[in-house]
Amino acid sequence: MKASFSVNNRPAEVDGHPMERLLDVLRERLGLTGTKEGCGEGECGACTVLMDGEPVLSCLVPLLQCEGRRIETVEGIAAGPARDFLERFVATGGVQCGACTPGIVVTAWSLLERNPEPSREEAREALAGNLCRCTGYEGILRAICKETES
């Protein structure tokens, strides 16, 4: 099938199998390798992207669901107004190995757009679907929640 949608505010047209994973479309057809595969079954959140502004797991989204949608990946978010947040994310120790990071950045950014000053509990709720094995999540929470900063 042919599907037309936008990726990081640019039009994309992809001709592929309707069940092709959005994750593979992004990484292999569009060269957007910032989105990572951690488990391939929707458990780890490393492949999170925004679809019409909502976080989705791109390993579970088939091409056929992408028609007419607006997709944003970590590359798009990093090129936009998230820069300060991303620098903060590095400074607080939110990133170590970085493999979960794109998914966490995407999820966290969509939270911050809705709720610029989330509580620790709100941040924990939003990030419940993103696994990180390096940080113990503390550095990530320091980046997102101002109350945790001290």
Partner: protein, 731 residues
């Protein structure tokens, strides 16, 4: 903000948060094919035949079996006893039997069906109990003093048996490797790894290549935790064999399922202690037995067992110690390096044993530790005299001061009504553990390696530092420049760090054993300082370092300094008697963990972890704390959630949907407090930190469960199912 103890942004940070960092699976080369692995479905079987039917596979598919190997069928580590591909027999489920490569990832997977293996299943040994009847893969013992005499005199003799389970690394980036054949018959391998020179050694050994025909580059590493210490050597060989067979670059990237099935885990352990104690709770003798499940092949298990023995006595004074350790062989995937490397298992056991002693004598967990904790100048059972930075007591006291542990523990003990009350109110508990970790290689490892670091002057006047260390997230990319800049008194802009590529960098050893900052960091400080001295010796007034360096380079030509690590003479260890300095120094820690236990479901929720650590000086405070935060959660996952379930040698939970690691909602608030005391042997006083935080979380958490419920927990993970069994035993 680039000084020692400050926290400059890690240089790779923005690339990682913006998706620009290039991991192995993000690399695609022209003409590259993909590899896949045919694996054993049996825990133990004879291979009658392997048949590849090209007609059933995508066009051009190549297949490699043990029969096609150009040299010895072994992954060179301590020895080469771990087969590259099974030959004649398979010894565990998931063992690689054949490899295929095809033009796409999908076609490579389809090609697996074209390989038919005929097996004759054989009886399998699957538990440690069955394995004790067979010859061990490895054994060790150490003894000091007269344990039998001390036990016969002791007022109390207390016995305990403790069990810990497998743990899967779950680095978020799965194992991955790309091999490219070179025209001269050599091979270039790029991959996710901790130890480029281990991979290099394995390639030249198995492929019969001269050293300079194999080149190994580490890509950005998406997590390691020990899981990328030895396994990448096997995967690199697999990719290299396929690349040679098809004459193209071949990529092999495991999906999560394959990564769990096919790679190593933390050794399950059974530890038995018999302890003699006097009437005041002073420790007199420890008689301990450590059994590790090595899985099917030895891999790094002998070294893991060695570290286990050397941490089994905990941070306590023991006049008499006898320890016997065995790595037993089962028909399961080989267990190998995982953060802590044998220490977490034995420290869980000794901490639980201390709790048992305390209960027997009516002493609270703080008191029993306080009476026996090691101090500077004390001797370990190896005879090693502990140095001035021995901080176990400091950590213990600071943890008490910050948490009020004793009063809380006693109040909860006194108020405890047991778990079976029907009110449904969560039960609270608090637990304390004291721990230590020897930093750097065990025994004479560093002396044997004499690892080098090189610094050279570039034409533009910058200093290039060359090491083989990889950054798997821990942050040596930030810490090394801090050390080099501070040691040489130059700016970070005057420094450049070569990527870990065996074609360029010297073999400064593996990125393991909490040695990177402490050992390699100290060498960087020396080499860069020496180069700086040479430059400045001839510098003119008012000349910047860069100007002077550029001029010196122009006049002197290529300038290079290499220093090797040489442990001080008094840091000797006798591997036959287990006497001497097993580690150059130790890092110390105390954890207080508070939990809530649901009385109906027996689910445990950790609420708060207070972690007090002494790791010498912290070079980069945020990254140092990050190691401790992450390690603490990994320890709590091992203690409470993470369980590898095996049936007939097969993993029942070989996916992230069923192998559960802590999410952000399973994570307590983790408060880290660094007690900084400079250790003279480390760069600016730093000790190793990476593994230490894996040692304390589990015993602290289960002591808290015991405090909350009154249930004795001697086995982890302390899942609700296990707690229910403990409850049934208690009734």
């Amino acid at each position: 903000m680039n000084g020692i103890g400050e926290s400059p942004p890690r240089p790779d940070g923005f690339a990682k948060v913006s998706g620009a960092a290039v991991y192995l699976d993000d690399i695609s080369l022209p003409g590259m094919w993909h590899g896949a692995t045919v694996r054993s479905p049996h825990p133990h079987a004879r291979i009658r035949s392997i048949r590849f039917d090209p007609a059933a596979a995508p066009a051009g598919t190549v297949c490699v079996t043990a029969a096609d190997l150009p040299g010895p069928n072994g992954v060179q580590l301590l020895d080469d006893g771990w087969p590259i591909l099974a030959d004649g027999f398979v010894l565990h489920v998931g063992e690689p039997v054949a490899l295929v490569a095809a033009p796409t990832r999908l076609e490579a997977r389809q090609a697996l069906a074209a390989v038919t293996v005929d097996y004759e299943p054989l009886a399998a040994v699957l538990t440690l109990e069955e394995a004790t009847a067979l010859p061990p893969l490895y054994e060790l013992r150490m003894e000091s003093g007269d344990v039998d005499a001390a036990l016969s005199r002791a007022e109390h003799v207390i016995e305990g048996e403790y069990r810990t389970g497998h743990q899967e690394h779950i680095y978020i980036e799965c194992q991955g490797m790309i091999a490219e054949p070179a025209e001269d018959g050599g091979i270039l391998v790029t991959g996710s790894m901790q130890c480029p020179y281990y991979v290099h050694k394995a390639l030249v050994h198995a492929l019969g290549l001269p050293d300079d025909r194999a080149r190994v580059r580490a890509s950005v590493v998406g997590g390691g935790f020990g899981g990328k210490e030895d396994f990448p050597s096997a995967l690199a060989l697999h990719a290299a064999l396929l690349a040679r067979a098809c004459g193209r670059p071949v990529k092999m990237v495991y999906d999560r399922h394959e990564d769990i099935v096919g790679t190593s885990k933390r050794h399950p352990a059974v530890i038995r202690h018999r302890t003699g104690v006097d009437g005041d709770g002073r420790l007199l003798a420890l008689d301990g037995e450590i059994l590790l499940d090595g899985g099917a092949y030895k891999t790094l298990s002998p070294v893991v067992l060695s570290r286990a023995l050397l941490h089994a006595f905990g941070p306590y004074r023991w006049p008499n110690v006898r320890l016997q350790g065995k790595v037993l062989r089962t028909h399961t995937a080989p267990n190998s390096a995982f953060r802590g490397f044998g220490a977490p298992q034995v420290e869980f056991a000794i901490e639980r044993q201390m709790d048992r002693i305390g209960r027997a004598l009516g002493l609270d967990p703080y008191e029993i530790r306080d009476r026996n904790v090691v101090e500077p100048g004390d001797r370990l059972p190896t005879g090693q005299v502990l140095d001035a930075t021995t901080s176990a007591r400091l950590c213990l006291e600071e943890a008490e001061r910050r948490t009020g542990f004793r009063a809380k523990w006693k109040a909860l003990e006194a108020a405890r009504e047991g778990i079976s009350g029907g009110d449904g109110e969560p039960r609270r508990g608090i637990g304390l553990a004291l721990y230590f970790h020897g930093a750097g290689f065990t025994g004479n490892g560093e002396r044997k390696m004499k690892s080098p670091v090189t610094a050279r002057l570039l034409e533009d006047g910058r200093i290039e530092v060359l090491t083989a260390m990889t950054d798997m997230g821990q942050g040596c990319v930030a810490v090394f420049p801090q050390i080099a800049a501070a040691a040489a008194g130059i700016g970070p802009e005057d420094l450049v760090f070569a990527p870990p590529d065996t074609g360029d960098v010297p073999d400064s050893g593996p990125t393991v054993a909490s040695r990177t900052t402490m050992i390699v960091g100290a060498l960087i400080a020396r080499t860069v300082s020496e180069l700086r001295d040479r430059v400045l010796a001839g510098s003119g007034p008012g000349e910047s370092f860069r100007e002077a360096a550029r001029r010196y380079r122009e006049e002197a030509g290529p300038v290079e300094v290499t220093f090797r690590h040489e442990p001080p003479e008094d840091q000797a260890f006798d591997e036959s008697t287990y006497r001497g300095a097993a580690y150059p120094t130790y890092a110390w820690g105390a954890d207080v963990v508070e939990v809530e236990v649901d009385p109906d479901t027996l689910a445990v929720r950790p609420l708060q972890a207070t972690v007090v650590c002494e790791v010498g000086r912290a070079i980069h405070k945020t990254l140092c704390a990050g190691q401790i935060e992450g390690g603490t959660l990994q320890a709590l996952g091992w203690a409470l959630l993470e369980e590898v379930k095996l049936q007939d040698g097969r993993y029942l939970n070989d996916r992230l949907a069923t192998y559960i690691i802590p999410t952000i909602k399973d994570c307590p608030r983790i408060d880290v407090h660094l007690l900084e005391r400079a250790w003279e042997g480390g760069p600016f006083g730093a000790k190793g930190v990476g593994e230490l935080p894996m040692d304390g979380g589990a015993p602290a958490a289960v002591q808290a469960i015991e405090n909350a419920t009154g249930l004795t927990v001697d086995e982890i993970p302390a899942t609700p199912e296990r707690l229910m069994r403990a409850q049934e035993v208690a009734r």
